[in-house]
Symmetry: C2
Subunit: 484 residues, 2 copies
Amino acid sequence: MSRRDLTLLTDLYELTMMQGYYEQGQNETVIFDVFFRQNPCNNGYSVCAGLDQVIDYIKNLNFTYDDVDYLRSLGIFSEDFLHYLSGFHFSGDIYAIPEGTVIFPKEPLLKVVAPIMEAQLVETAILNIINHQSLIATKTSRIVFAANGDGIMEFGLRRAQGPDAGLYGARAAMIGGCVGTSNVLAGQLFDVPVMGTHAHSWIMSFKDEYSAFRAYAEMYPDNCTLLVDTYDTLKSGVPNAIRVFKEMKEEGVHFKKYGIRLDSGDLAYLSKEARKMLDTAGFSDATITASNDLDEYLLHDLKMQGAAINSWGVGTNLITSKDCPSFGGVYKLAAIQNEDGEFIPKIKISENTEKITNPGNKTIYRIYDKTTGKVKADLICFVGETYDTNEDLLLFDPIETWKKTKLPGGSYTMREILVPVFKNGECVYKSPSVKEIAAYCRQEKKTLWEETKRLFYPHRVYVDLSQKLYEVKKSLLDQISATN
Amino acid sequence: MSRRDLTLLTDLYELTMMQGYYEQGQNETVIFDVFFRQNPCNNGYSVCAGLDQVIDYIKNLNFTYDDVDYLRSLGIFSEDFLHYLSGFHFSGDIYAIPEGTVIFPKEPLLKVVAPIMEAQLVETAILNIINHQSLIATKTSRIVFAANGDGIMEFGLRRAQGPDAGLYGARAAMIGGCVGTSNVLAGQLFDVPVMGTHAHSWIMSFKDEYSAFRAYAEMYPDNCTLLVDTYDTLKSGVPNAIRVFKEMKEEGVHFKKYGIRLDSGDLAYLSKEARKMLDTAGFSDATITASNDLDEYLLHDLKMQGAAINSWGVGTNLITSKDCPSFGGVYKLAAIQNEDGEFIPKIKISENTEKITNPGNKTIYRIYDKTTGKVKADLICFVGETYDTNEDLLLFDPIETWKKTKLPGGSYTMREILVPVFKNGECVYKSPSVKEIAAYCRQEKKTLWEETKRLFYPHRVYVDLSQKLYEVKKSLLDQISATN
């Protein structure tokens, strides 16, 4: 609710572990990876977002006197440790995939390389920010895909999970492809288009619907969208809207953008009837906007049924990602540096093969088909592994290893997608504007095959491991099972 | 970073409507009601929360120069109106049901009585705040109910929908009945217990599990909960924990609170096995904490199967209210004051009878059975209607009006639950502390019948209308249908 530093926005155990490391004199450099295991809503890809807020968070990390006093009051921290905290700043490196990039499960979308005490502290807030914005950017992408070129407006502020969820949700929605938001604060802070017209209460506060429409049309000839469902959409709302459009035309007023908004009833039926009425009256350029509990599934169905809707306002289902309200990003230890400066890979095992982490200091290459420019696969490898795209590249599934593909040399291109964001505690990355990120995200989606963008049962993009990474992982697993 | 007022955290249409009213010279006093139509998760009741943040919001309403400049840049607002905004403050009245009260669908849980321009502006932020916190308080109540006396800890920050969702979600979770939160900032700001121990990364950063446990136990004898599932829960984790507990005991260390945490695998089976092992080793007072994708349904089932778990950490499903991530609070015009100072009731009709609003300037009485102290029903009536509890009270269902109950005089008590919060723009209400609200909420739930608290198909509490309100509503509906 306030733009306050978020240093204490962390789980208590980050601090108890930090003190543990402090007391042990243990502060080796480690690597933590942020990754997720499944795309939300069974989508074929995700869109990462939130990095700019992570940067702000890291830059502003700092325990104030009040913070230290509060921690002292808990009675579990030593004065030495509290003294250490009062001088705390982040001194490590962060690498991340830029916002708006399409991403896939299991690849590190953010990597923290820092002394363990620092790397541990930042876990919770980084996950909170990235999980939230990536969720909403991904959900929005689905809704935008279903709209097949129609504009989607983000209208969810009143149903968002608190002020930040509304504000940063609107930001993520713009990255995911919305044409605008109703959220004025988001417009101010992120320089994105704000949109909206009037509510039922506007109509109800006038003596009748016609007078309310007329007053609104006189005020807002540049963008006059009249809400037609307060009393009866087809018997009262649309006829009154047409009457006002006619009067204004006769009086020589030229609307820049005008039309009606439907907010209840069967949107397919009502929009088709309203379209006929508007066309017959000579207003074929009037837009029909719809709202009311929309999501990608209903939108997809309404389009299939030929709903005559040009513009969609989506609220609750977008801003909360209602059918899948969390993005399961996790933060896992991948390596610990030894005295020689070498990163020793670490692995977290699990009964569930899918949950076993990828060890070591890694990066990611995205591989494109040279002819089409479409994504072939992502390749996770150790930092420092090099590839010559003139040579054949053998990709194999890291679990079902018999699934192999050979890409002939010269047929593909590669691009490293993890980029440096912090180096030795200094930010070395300049975030693009939200509009630029949104434009980049549109381009990113063009690199996906249509089969991957499908709403239902999309084709999976492969995320493979380099031969070297695969072997290290396998040998760590063998070591552990030998010990048990 | 400084505390930011949320004045622009509103939908654009609130501002375009405001300007509309401004240009029309229309600023009569109106009444808007906040109410909801359905309890989240098909619960039998909801818990209202968020009022303290609404109070902050209203107190801090103020358009700064930057805000006005931004609005000017949109090119849709007149200089006169912008000048009016720069001097804006809230001058109206607000009534609300205090936080932590159990509430039911369709009753106004907050009522704004203010000039229409002011009342319209505050819609979005009020709904955002109340919807979020009431959702999480209600979801938490369900989870706490399923735990049947065990403590529930809020562990969801990393999966919350942004920083505020984590922070105010933790606040609402405490109101709903959690015993603590992992969220340190929530602990600092709301003076509530913070909890937590260590993560898998702690274990992995030591040469082996035993050393990690040992180091932790030495550091935190007051609250030593060891996470036992990093390698193998029953073969490695629990035996190593027992070894450390034994050693520490032999060394004369007395743990205040100690035990293990399970975070994967089958929690029913593992907890029962771990319980046996701990008991056999003489640690029958060691607690077993569980986490890992818990919600009220799984918790209910685990309890049914005799899981030996004393304490539960609940994350994603609580902090996002995963199966129902929005609380459908709406803000509807209920009355407009005429020149004589009389409130003329307004009604919003709908094809759907359930969606028709209750008109007029209303209040709510909660009716209790005098003998048991349990809630009999809520009664919505006009402000000023009086009741004598020595007389019989006839209640009837506002839709199926033949459903009637007569409460004999002397058998019931009544309490008005809407209280004044702002009068003429001045705050006249002092919010209790979160701990006080949580204690009050526990009392509130005791006034509900067990049948209403049930997780599945709970018994509905009736919300009835007074005879007078019913008649006014009916006559407004008749008028409207006569016009069509």
